[in-house]
Amino acid sequence: MSIGQPVTRLDAEAKVTGRARYTEDLLPAGVLSAVYIRGSVAHGRVLDMDLSAALALPGVEAVFTHADVPRLLYAPAGHPFSLDPDHADVADRLLLTGHVRFHGDEIGVVVARDELTAQRAASLVAVSYEELPVLTDPREAMAEEAFAIHPGGNIVKQDGFSVGGDVDALLAQADVVVEGEYQTPVTQHCHMEPVVAHAYMEDMERITVVTSTQIPHICRRVVGQALGLDWSRVRIVKPYVGGGFGAKQDVLLEPMVAFLAWKLGRPVRMALTREESMITRTRHAMRIRGRAGFARDGRLLAMNMDAVSNTGAYASHGHSVVSAGGGKLCSMYPHAAVRFHAATVYTNLPIAGAMRGYGSPQIIFACECLLDEAAKALDMDPLDLRRINAGRPGDVNPRSGKPIETHGLADCLRLGRERFGWDERRAAAQITQAAPEIRRGVGVACFSFNSGVYPVGVEISGIRLTLNQDGCVTLQAGATEIGQGADTVFAQMAAAVLDLPVTSLRVVSTQDTDVTPFDPGAFASRQTYVVGPAVKAASLELRARILNHAALMTGYPASALDLKAGSLVATRQPARVFMSLKELALDAYYHKNRGGQLTAERSVKTRSNAPSFGCTFVEVEVDIPLCRVRVTDMLNVHDCGVVINPITAKGQAQGGMAMAIGWALYEELLVDPRSGRVRNNNLLDYKMPTFLDLPDLDVAFVQTAEPSGGFGNKSLGEPPLLSPAPAIRSAVWNATGVKADFIPLTPKALFPLFRDAGLLEGAR
């Protein structure tokens, strides 16, 4: 049984030896390079572009501006297509724009024999603008009289829900009501492989785009929409991807390289610099106001949240992000009434889109901060307060109305309390909390998440299995490997059903929309959950075909035969081996009168969405005079159902925890409010933490068996990122008595708080 085994990633050796081929390793001969001409104001209209100097530069092939592109507004967000027009993503993009909406907006593109020439030419284009008011604060942008960044105004959408009871009445009845207003920053994914794509045409009709994307099938549809082409005239090839974290759950360069290849008839590549990548998609900054009412015994009665989400210059995933964050909250403390309202607002910032967690990190930050307020007000251990409120299996999710079959949150808290040594550490930290310089503190926080997008969007997944002549099985998935280890767990699942060693599975890591089964791609922590049933169905079907062929060969009925450890055996006497799978495969392929190529392909729609849970325990050390927080220890405990692969699961958790430490303590894209210019879109000034900034990251699992998951599993992709930040903020409060209602808790942000709290004696 390969489920639960620590199988080494199928691509590990190819990646560490450099053999794995990524988009830029696959450039066709004669490829041209293209570079955007970017707007140098944050808001304005292009009055004139003088292209003469650029066109005169030797090596320049073409320059296109906003006047040359199709007048087709398209929506780049990587969502499955919706049959309901009211649910469609906001189509507010053109390939190039004459209305510059953020500093760096794409107003033209230069194509040249090489990148350096294209860059030089782009810098030679003189542009004049009519400057427009720059709006970076969503509160200003929401004002009645604010300049409309898009024709429909600056509010992309606002809506909300109220579930589980009358929130106002419950708040009025509550023994303790706490409130707060919390702010989270603009951050960036910092995937290792930048945004890259190239396109070529092999005939007069069809365009092939090779790209670093999480969503090849969605990408094909959006390129078709952006260029006004039938979708099947576009072919997307997705080779190995060096990380996406949601930035590539969006259609980025693909329509442009397709347009250029189409216009010029020659292969064209684009590769954004790190500086460009960092203003291409970001995480939404949010401001969240919350109130929560509790009974004296600690029961959370009701929570009210009001969020404003800054989506920047274009909608991209737009309102879906904050909306998803609110919706996924309700299964965590399901006995409470929740009212949630959110507005998503355009500003002249770079475009916020999907990023690991997708609105949940911000909403959970606010929720868990409110719980810490309550723990303080009730004089309770914050861990006990969460234990009291954690849901139990069988509780009904007030938002979906469905019972939560597996709810391991209380068990996660129990396991974590023990493993982290919560009570002992909390007591030990308290002793340091009057020290003038170095103090320690502890914090805890919980999260809930989902395992896909249903019922907001369709959940469809396709798997094709082919028995090869040598008895190995080739697996093709529409779901994408982007570094998270998807291919490996798919192989483990198929190997488990077929009773083959994992080494007998050959996973085609490349998706090619011409041949790959349909699946929207890597997002929403969905793939292991929704691909599982498709792998199971296809594997069972292939197994049945193998047994049918074995029946033809042996003369026994298929029901008397079984596939065990790569051999065909008698069901009742597994020791009786008829033949190896390889012998069967050769017969199926080459016998002149029977058999054929044995394949199985299944496309499965998942109509469930199991919530997953977990929590973070953290200890910090604060050097008060230096205003610096160091995470000394951190434990994440996850209920992700059955763990398919303990090594890759742990790695996934640790990656998310590291990313969350960055969000809590280090990272923010800083924007000059006047010019709208991003100040630190590079990896020196944007302070992503390094290994030396991270503690050992401990991970534990509470394994529940989720009946709706193909193999008992639930989501794990995004969840590890969700709870560390509020736990860290709580630990800093515990250590210093200073409560920050924002992140990141950088030294320069803590300095005024510490000074005002009188912690920095002598600081002026």
Binding site: P625, L626, R679, K687, T690, F691, K748, F751
Partner: protein
């Protein structure tokens, strides 16, 4: 791809000096860890390159009567693994460990770190504290000058046209009778530029933990447009017991530094960090002085 206008790779120091003298726009490039970054950003000032990386005359370390000579082409990685440098200038080694990350330290050189004129050069504070000298060679011959005064402003140093820094010279810390300490305060523990860098050298009159300060040398990076020594604070500390000296330094530091407010950090925050680091580094340096003095006494009594 880089937008070079010209690129020369001379085979000797003499040729390098001649090439630099022949083109007033040419810049010497050693490890390239700053110049290639600027060239990638499209800075025209770096388009003419004389690549001095690997020139044998700039390599190697040696000691002569207690004076450490470090070839300007010595990488930080080489410096950190040198037992000679570790013995004679431990403060410089402490600072070298703060430079960027392992890949950068494998190629960035001490000469480049000084000659690019950066206010945040990690090697500058220890070299200022240790009263390092620079051995330069140019079309008019060679000269030996103190590092103090070499930095003129952001990105500007007192390197004459055509000159190349050949070596950095430091009298051993032991001969200078100093306990030393350096720390870089940055937003992360690696791959960063300093918010403030602070180095201290202390000599006490005795080895008591609160002994009288005989000499204090204090240097900062990013506290002013150039790396600076702190003459006012140093003078204020002289002759005081350590705990009083630390207070006197905190009072006097305003005269020596001028941290600026930028989006990276506010001036009052930087000033607070400057004072905090000064106190910590002076105390650490004093502790090291006292413990090494104690060690010497033990060695003598045996």
């Amino acid at each position: 791809m880089y937008a070079f206008e010209s690129y020369h790779r001379p085979q000797s120091l003499t040729d390098a000096v001649a090439l630099l003298a022949a083109n007033p726009f040419a810049r010497p490039m050693a490890g390239g860890t700053d110049i290639l970054v600027r060239l990638r950003e499209g800075h025209k000032d770096y388009a003419d390159i004389v690549d001095i990386h690997g020139l044998p005359e700039l390599e190697g370390m040696s000691a002569d009567r207690g004076e450490l000579r470090i070839g300007s082409g010595t990488t930080f990685a080489a410096l950190m693994t040198s037992s000679l440098a570790t013995r004679l200038a431990p403060m410089l080694i402490e600072a070298a460990g703060w430079v960027a990350g392992p890949q950068i330290r494998n190629t960035a050189t001490i000469g480049g770190n000084i000659c690019n004129g950066s206010a945040c050069a990690d090697s500058a504070a220890p070299l200022l504290v240790l009263n390092a000298h620079l051995d330069l060679i140019g079309p008019e011959g060679q000269r030996l000058i103190p590092l103090r005064g070499f930095h003129l402003g952001p990105g500007r140093v007192e390197r004459r046209p055509g000159e190349i820094l050949r070596s950095v010279r430091i009298k051993s810390e032991q001969d200078q009778g100093l306990g030393t300490a350096y720390v870089k305060y940055s937003m992360r523990q690696a791959m960063d530029i300093a918010t403030i860098g602070c180095g201290a050298g202390v000599r006490l009159r005795d080895d008591q933990s609160n002994g009288i300060v005989d000499e204090l040398r204090l240097a900062f990076t990013v506290a002013a447009p150039t790396p600076v020594r702190c003459p006012t604070a140093e003078a204020a500390a002289r002759g005081l017991p350590l705990s009083q000296a630390v207070k006197a330094v905190a009072e006097a530091l305003d005269q020596d530094v001028s941290p600026r407010t930028s989006w990276r950090a506010a001036g009052d925050f930087r000033m607070h960090i400057i004072r905090t680091l000064a106190e910590r580094m002076i105390r650490t340096a004093a502790k090291r002085f006292a413990s090494s003095a104690a060690n010497h006494q033990e060695a003598r009594t045996c």
